[in-house]
Amino acid sequence: MAYIQMKDVSFVYPGGFLAVDNINIEIEKGENVAIIGQNGAGKTTTVKMMNRLEKPTKGDVMIGDMNTKSYTTAQVSRVVGYVFQNPDDQIFHSTVISEVEFGPRMMKLPSEIISERVSCALKLTGLEQFRDTNPYDLPLSIRKFVTIAAIIAMDTEVVIFDEPTAGQDLRGNHYLSDILRTLNQRGKTVITISHDMEFVAANFDRVIVMANKKVVTSGTPKEIFWSFDALEKAKLKQPYISRLCRELGIEGNIIEMDEAVEAIKEKCLLN
């Protein structure tokens, strides 16, 4: 049985707006999954139901053998950590260190463990130099890493990132790749929402495609980015490299730079 299971789940906002329409999702323990889809497809509402920030109006969300229905948001959030899309919805301390310490402190951990977790999280997010800085003195893109560090320090089994790539530069994207890899090596289940198709192609085992409040399909990045039916339904495009290979008639469902270089080289030099 899958570690995370959403069974026939719907979400209707008070006032009647349907945001998620009868979805089924299964995610195995230790998986590294991306969710892609247009603005308004229901991605954020879906992941918020995984840690009970939103409560499904229909269906069940299971994390391991815990039916989240029978637990409080505070209880579920010890297992499922959620990094908000807008860091300003999450941050409420006046220094980076106190923000990152808050979660482990609430869990009443021994102080050595707290300080170990906090320094590890700060190192992984590249924030060591900003320990004593007010998060609001940092640019938005770096403030996002403060919220990521705060969730990493909680050491939850599941970590959810909501659009971490928005507004990031080259360096920020490298940090994000490292963070995903490290969490995965620690056996964490990681779920990431992103609009950056290049980032998704390079960093995930599986991609879930959402459109119009429903799940369209899921598969490996190679499968998804060469499934024109799914991409069209979700109004998404292939990564630039894949688009070029398609135009040039280069086979092999290419989604990454290295593969493209090899395939073009082979075609040019073999003849």
């Binding site: 889809g37 247009q38 603005n39 308004g40 899309q85 807008n86 640019p139 938005l140 893109s141 770096i142 659009e163 928005a166 507004g167 990031q168 530069d169 080259l170 360096r171 920020g172 994207n173 609009h195 198709m197 290049e198 109004k235 998404l236 495009k237 990564p239 630039y240 490299i241 688009r243 070029l244 135009e247 040039l248 730079m257 493209a260 270089v261 073009i264 080289k265 075609k267 040019c268 030099l269 073999l270 003849n271």
Partner: protein, 287 residues
């Protein structure tokens, strides 16, 4: 060259800051061109925008050395509101842009025109046109703060375009948008460029910049490190070491040339790549 904006040895320091955010910067912006501003976060891109629009120093205070000229006149000598007629400014964070005093998105987009005393009939006509152009007309009756991040970003853009300024300074308008939304914003900007507007756009999506911009301005650590034609700058691989992302197609082209595949030029867009690599493949087939 018809210079519309000029920075002369500009150094600018925010109040209480230890060091300047902009360091000895001199540039000339030519009328009617589309400039893409790129560089790592914290490089001073947003501060450059604030200087051009006059928010720095007039609103943020701080210390300005050198001169920022708009049509030959220092920004510090413009009266309050005067620059807002010439320069439209779209903030990075749409929350900063939206006034919060209007109940519907339609009124929000109309707010600037109202303040400028434009006749009601004309306001309505212009607002409807711009809301259609930015694909938010169906949201006209919604409350501005109930919109999604992506919708708010388009609303912020609409509320500036409707004022028809000659110069547009736009700070990361697509950070919250999906690929289709991003493309539609660039199409809108292209349309503004065709109307001979001068456009200064801060944007991390360098593949889109490669497609649409004319000139590139690269910043690092508060300094201008490159300024010029996009073909030349976006194929300069040394910029990767400066933390600047380059187009996928340029990186691919460079790697193919390194692997011994002759290309007529390093491409920066998909079209250029298809052409250059297509030729190389054709040549290989024929030999």
């Amino acid at each position: 060259m018809d210079t519309v904006i000029e920075l002369k040895n500009v150094t600018y320091t925010y109040p209480l800051a230890d060091e300047p955010s902009i360091k000895d910067m001199s540039i000339k912006i030519e009328r009617g061109k589309f400039y893409g501003v790129i560089g790592e976060n914290g490089a001073g891109k947003t501060t450059l925008c604030a200087l051009i629009r006059g928010f720095a120093p007039s609103f943020y205070n701080g210390e300005l050395k050198g001169e920022v000229l708009v049509e030959g006149k220092p920004t510090t000598e413009f009266g309050p509101g005067e620059l807002s007629l010439k320069i439209g400014y779209v903030f990075q964070n749409p929350f900063t842009q939206i006034s919060g005093v209007k109940d519907t998105l339609f009124e929000e987009v109309a707010y600037g025109l109202e303040n400028f005393g434009v006749p009601v009939d004309e306001i309505e006509e212009r607002v409807i046109e711009v809301m259609k152009m930015t694909d938010i007309y169906s949201l006209a009756d919604k409350k501005p703060f109930e919109l999604s991040g992506g919708q708010q970003q388009r609303a912020a853009l609409a509320s500036i375009i409707v004022l028809k300024p000659d110069i547009l300074v736009i700070d990361e308008p697509t950070s919250q948008l999906d690929p289709e939304g991003t493309e539609s914003v660039f199409k809108i900007i292209e349309q503004l460029k065709n109307e001979k507007k001068t456009i200064i756009l801060v944007e991390h999506k360098v593949d889109m910049i490669a497609e649409y911009a004319d000139e590139i301005l690269v910043m690092k650590g508060g300094r201008l490190i490159r300024l010029g034609d996009k073909q030349e700058i976006l194929t300069d691989m040394s910029l990767l070491d400066e933390g600047v992302q380059l187009p996928q197609m340029a990186i691919l082209g460079e790697r193919l040339i390194e692997a011994g595949i002759p290309l007529s030029r390093v491409p920066i867009t998909e079209r250029q790549a298809a052409e250059a690599i297509g030729q190389a493949l054709q040549k290989a087939r024929n030999s």
